[in-house]
């Protein structure tokens, strides 16, 4: 067989495959979509609005509170609860889960996934890179939001002399728990997206798992309490419990348990996302 090789190769011969090239590629893919920045920007405004709104309500109703309520506002941990509210954290979960899910369902929806996997046949490495980029971006997003939200809410409460410093009891725990719920949700979204391969389906699944289940599964029986406590949002509620109400519940649990739920969801989601693409046809 007579075949002539190209006179001068246009691309240098095969170099050792590096994981950081995949990280860089996923980073480029994420930020080259305008929707990424817009989603995060709009999500940040909504979360900050919800948190600042609660602090604003307390500022406005301050004069109508009894002297007793005003005195117990700080000891009861109200400024800590205002720093990141349940509504704010619910919206944060939604934004982070959508970001994670779209990272992969966007590729299935357009067929880009085949281009991606033909360029990088090591599919699990691609998914591992997506896991890292999703975790990094959502952690940064959650942390930034937690800090800004702390600053804004305490500045509002300060006008009533009710703001507290960053090292106030429970404040670091509540802020870290709120910030880290973003990567936990983002990875859950990525995992559900990798399994379902469909944007709408993945979003519905995220809503059910992250928001609906905590509402319908009650902690009054042992088994349902066990399921309830294994959910990310319930874990956040436990970490956000600055008034000790969770200790008086029928089935009390520790903050260590709640942190473990966070870690478990993050690791399990990462594992599912990586494993989901290995055997299935693309």
């Amino acid at each position: 067989m007579t075949s002539t090789a190209p006179a001068q190769p246009a691309v240098a011969p095969d170099l050792r495959a590096r994981f950081r090239d995949l990280l860089a590629a996923e980073w480029l893919k994420l930020w080259s979509l305008r929707s990424t920045a817009w989603t995060l920007f709009a999500g940040a405004l909504a979360v900050l609005g919800l948190n600042a709104g609660t602090a604003w309500d307390h500022y406005r109703s301050w004069d109508r509170m009894s002297a007793e309520s005003q005195r117990s506002f700080v000891p009861d941990g109200m400024p800590v609860l205002d720093a990141f509210t349940g509504n704010g954290v619910t919206f944060l979960m939604l934004v982070a889960a959508a970001l994670g899910a779209l990272t992969i369902t966007g590729e299935y929806g357009t067929g880009l996934i085949r281009t991606t996997f033909a360029a990088v046949p090591a599919r699990r490495s691609v998914m591992a890179a997506k896991v890292c980029v999703t975790a990094a971006v959502t952690t940064g997003f959650g942390t930034l939001l937690a800090l800004v939200s702390y600053g804004v809410t305490q500045a509002i409460l300060d006008t009533r002399g009710a703001g507290v410093p960053l090292d106030h009891p429970h404040m670091p725990r509540v802020l870290i728990a709120s910030a880290l719920l973003a990567p936990v949700s983002g990875l859950a979204g990525l995992a559900l997206g990798a399994v379902l391969r469909h944007s709408a389906g993945a979003m519905v699944a995220c809503l059910v798992v992250l928001m609906v289940l905590p509402l319908i599964v009650l902690d009054q029986r042992y088994w349902t309490a066990l399921i309830d406590h294994a959910l990310p949002y319930t874990a956040w509620v436990r970490l956000d419990d600055v008034q000790g109400t969770e200790h008086r519940a029928d089935f009390p649990w520790t903050t260590t348990g709640a942190w473990t739920v966070y870690a478990g969801w993050a690791l399990a989601s990462a594992a599912v996302a990586v494993a989901a693409v290995h055997r299935r046809d693309q």
Binding site: T4, A10, V11, A25, L112, I113, T116, A119
Partner: protein, 308 residues
């Protein structure tokens, strides 16, 4: 070189591809032909490691493609021009692909230049025409300067100038010693593009041979002589008396006759002897299209009803 050996893919009860065996060699353009639903895309996905075969193997340059950590330097593929995210610019799409395979960013501008999309590099691909997307897909395939290139229906949506360009590109790539494998469901597209053909129907191999060999398989559906005369009735009688088959030429709007069984010289001599003037006497070789239709007629997945 692409080697496919007893490749089979079943989805539940239906067999998409059945025991396909063929090789695609470097240095020439090989066409991959078959009617819609014949299993071409399924075969290409298995070659690229996207789908796992039920049984059999597909290798590229001697090893299964899925065993490669990075693919672009080994195989360049255009599977479906739609397979880009419409929200990204052409440059961003190619930039991320290049980055994942450790290919320098400068190569992106080179391939965009090569496919004629340099001016549209900063535009979002969602606004691209099908032809522009085909060019973008071809640019992606060229990124890694690979020895093997696979194109699934690359001529879809291209204007005549684009088709000319793609044909020239494929020939150039083959002349450089690369393996070029191009699928199509239209024989006419391959006639001026490929040197060699792999033809399948209903997932099974029909032919793997050169273009000329394939054309010779046509048992004469298109072969014969086209004759035009002001006295068709007389000529028909004279020719039939000599054992020829004479029919109205269905490809022609005028009253031309399609004659088989006699060559042009004999027809001319007979016409002269009977004093019938001839306006046209054109020998026709069997066309590739006819051979393709004939060989795949038994394997069309969803045949249309008879034309009325």
């Amino acid at each position: 070189m692409i080697e496919v050996n007893l490749l089979t893919k079943r989805y539940g009860g239906t067999t998409a591809v059945r025991e396909l065996t063929f090789a695609v060699r470097p240095g020439r353009v090989t066409g991959f032909l078959g009617p819609n639903g014949a299993g071409k895309s399924t075969t290409l996905r298995m070659v690229l490691g996207l789908d796992a075969p039920t049984s059999g193997t597909a290798t590229v340059s001697g090893s299964p493609f899925r065993d490669r950590a990075r693919g672009l330097r080994h195989v360049g593929a255009l599977l479906d021009a739609g397979q880009v995210h419409g929200g990204r610019t052409a440059a961003a799409h190619l930039g991320a692909l290049a980055r994942s395979n450790r290919i320098p960013r400068a190569r992106v501008d080179e391939v965009l230049e090569e496919v004629g999309l340099a001016g549209a590099a900063r535009r979002r691909t969602g606004g691209f025409s099908l032809g522009m997307r085909q060019r973008l897909g071809i640019a992606a395939a060229l990124l890694g300067d690979p020895p093997v290139l696979v194109f699934d229906e690359p001529l879809n949506g291209l204007d005549p100038e684009g088709v000319q360009w793609v044909r020239g590109l494929f020939r150039g790539l083959a002349a450089e010693g690369r393996t070029v494998f191009v699928s199509s469901h239209l024989m006419s597209e391959m006639e001026h593009t490929a040197d060699h053909l792999v033809v399948i129907g209903r997932g099974e191999l029909i032919a793997a041979e050169s273009l000329a060999e394939f054309a010779a398989r046509g048992t004469g559906a298109g072969a014969g002589v086209t004759v035009r005369t002001p006295q068709p009735a007389e000529l028909t009688l004279a020719l039939r008396a000599e054992g020829a088959t004479v029919r109205p030429d269905s490809d022609r709007a005028d009253a031309a006759l399609a004659v088989t069984g006699l060559d042009a010289a004999r027809i001319g001599a007979l016409a002269h002897r009977h004093g019938v003037p001839l306006l046209e006497l054109t020998p026709r070789s069997a066309s590739l299209e006819a051979a393709f239709m004939e060989l795949t007629s038994g394997s069309v997945e969803f045949p249309a009803g008879d034309a009325r």
